[in-house]
């Protein structure tokens, strides 16, 4: 009976792609650029939106919260889709780094959803008189916020890294198919009970406002990428704490 005792050398030939040790410094270099780009875009966007753009015909100057509310809402929804994208890659190719990307995206998405909710409430107060408005967009953003919290809670409560990656990916995929259903049902529910609420986007946006909003959205995008890369680096360090390249990294 042929048998050789297991050796300690790990040659996992299946996984010999770009390892985290190469991704880690790459991400490190990209973060400062992304952060400065985000700040610059935000500065220009805010300058145009706040100082140059005229006030809105119906809502006066209260509408300027749109420059914060809409970018954060877009980012909250977009990040969830990117999370599902990385989750699919993780489940199909078993690449651990893609699962870490999904887990790094979730907190930023949750913060974006929270910002969208807060700015939405602050915007609703002058327009509709109450802090919380059961408007279709705000309600579905609230549910999306819970989806993010559920994802974070699930991945953080499982100790075994492999299981938490795969469980998180499964949940993200189930979630992403349900997000449109949630949006549709909340919109349907909203029109049923309150009649078509006047949607502020109906008023055609002046070119200047649109430019400011797009700049702010780009800034939010750069910011989210930078934060995600910073967080994925921390996750890589946690996962690879026992490997030599991390310990040498730390000693440097």
């Amino acid at each position: 009976m042929t048998m050789d005792t297991p050796k300690n050398k790990v040659n996992w030939h299946l996984f010999h792609y770009a390892a985290p040790s190469t991704f880690y410094p790459l991400a490190g270099k990209a973060i400062p650029w992304l952060m400065t780009l985000a700040v610059v875009l935000a500065a220009i966007g805010l300058w145009i939106g706040m100082a140059v753009a005229p006030s809105d015909a119906q809502q006066g100057d209260g509408y300027r919260i749109i420059y914060l509310h809409v970018p954060s809402s877009w980012m909250a929804m977009f990040i969830y889709i990117v999370m599902a994208f990385w989750s699919v890659i993780h489940l199909v190719w078993k690449t651990r780094l893609s699962a870490l990307m999904a887990q790094a995206l979730a907190p930023t998405g949750a913060w974006m959803a929270l910002m969208s909710l807060v700015t939405g409430a602050l915007w609703g107060k002058p327009m509709w008189g109450t802090w919380w408005v059961w408007d279709a967009r705000l309600t579905s953003m609230l549910l999306l916020f819970f989806l993010y919290l559920g994802f974070i809670a699930l991945t953080r409560s499982i100790d075994d890294p492999d299981r938490s990656d795969q469980a998180g990916s499964l949940l993200a995929i189930v979630g992403v198919f349900n997000v449109p259903v949630i949006y549709f049902s909340v919109y349907w529910w909203n029109t049923l009970h309150q009649g078509a609420s006047v949607s502020s986007k109906g008023s055609s946006m002046a070119g200047v406002m649109l430019a400011a909003m797009l700049l702010m959205s780009l800034a939010a995008w750069m910011y989210s990428i930078a934060m995600t890369l910073r967080r994925v680096r921390v996750l890589i360090l946690q996962r690879e704490a026992s490997t030599r390249w991390v310990q040498e990294l730390n000693i440097l």
Binding site: G150, L154, Q166
Partner: protein, 224 residues
Amino acid sequence: MGVLSFFASVLERDVLLAWRQRGDVLLGLMFFMLVATLFPLAVGPEPNGLLRIGPGVLWVAALLANLLALPRLFHGDWIDGSLEQLLLAPYPPSMMVAAKFAAHWLVTSLPLALAAPLLAIQYGLPLAQCLMLVASLLVGTPIITALGGIGAALTLGLRQGEVLLALLVLPLLAPVLIFGSGAVGAVAAGQSGMAELSLLAAMACTSVFFAPWLAAKALRLAIE
């Protein structure tokens, strides 16, 4: 022995196990009734108030009662190791999971749906709304079992798995609640309510079709 008879034997096994612990079914029903009777105490007994909130309250109570029973879906088998034997059976694991979902639906959700009219009388719902309530519960609860089953498989064996299961699954079940209570509300408003019911049925078909496969994948993680 074909896959369908494997489905039947797993279904029969689970129903037999549930029958041996008949008390659990009553517990679920009592929880449902208790939640439904708490609301009038809070909101006040005047009939037209209760009539208006009736469908919504009964649907929320049924949803919570179902949610309460979901962790037991796999926990019993996981604790004594028979879940591994089930996964080792020479048949697709999604068929086993589908059978467990069906058994769980029969044992928990069906009694709730049938007991709902009793509580509907408490809220003074007319007959038409009672029937639509039962219909929407019968069509809606498979979605709760399917999506909740995925959540139960994902959170199997975790600390505070039940609370986590609720956090994961409730946002996904918002549409079920909206269309379920919407159907009864539509009947109250004189419309036929079939629009909401058919949307609910569509969601039920898709989730019941995809959930067993996803839950089987999630179970395999919990077994390692």
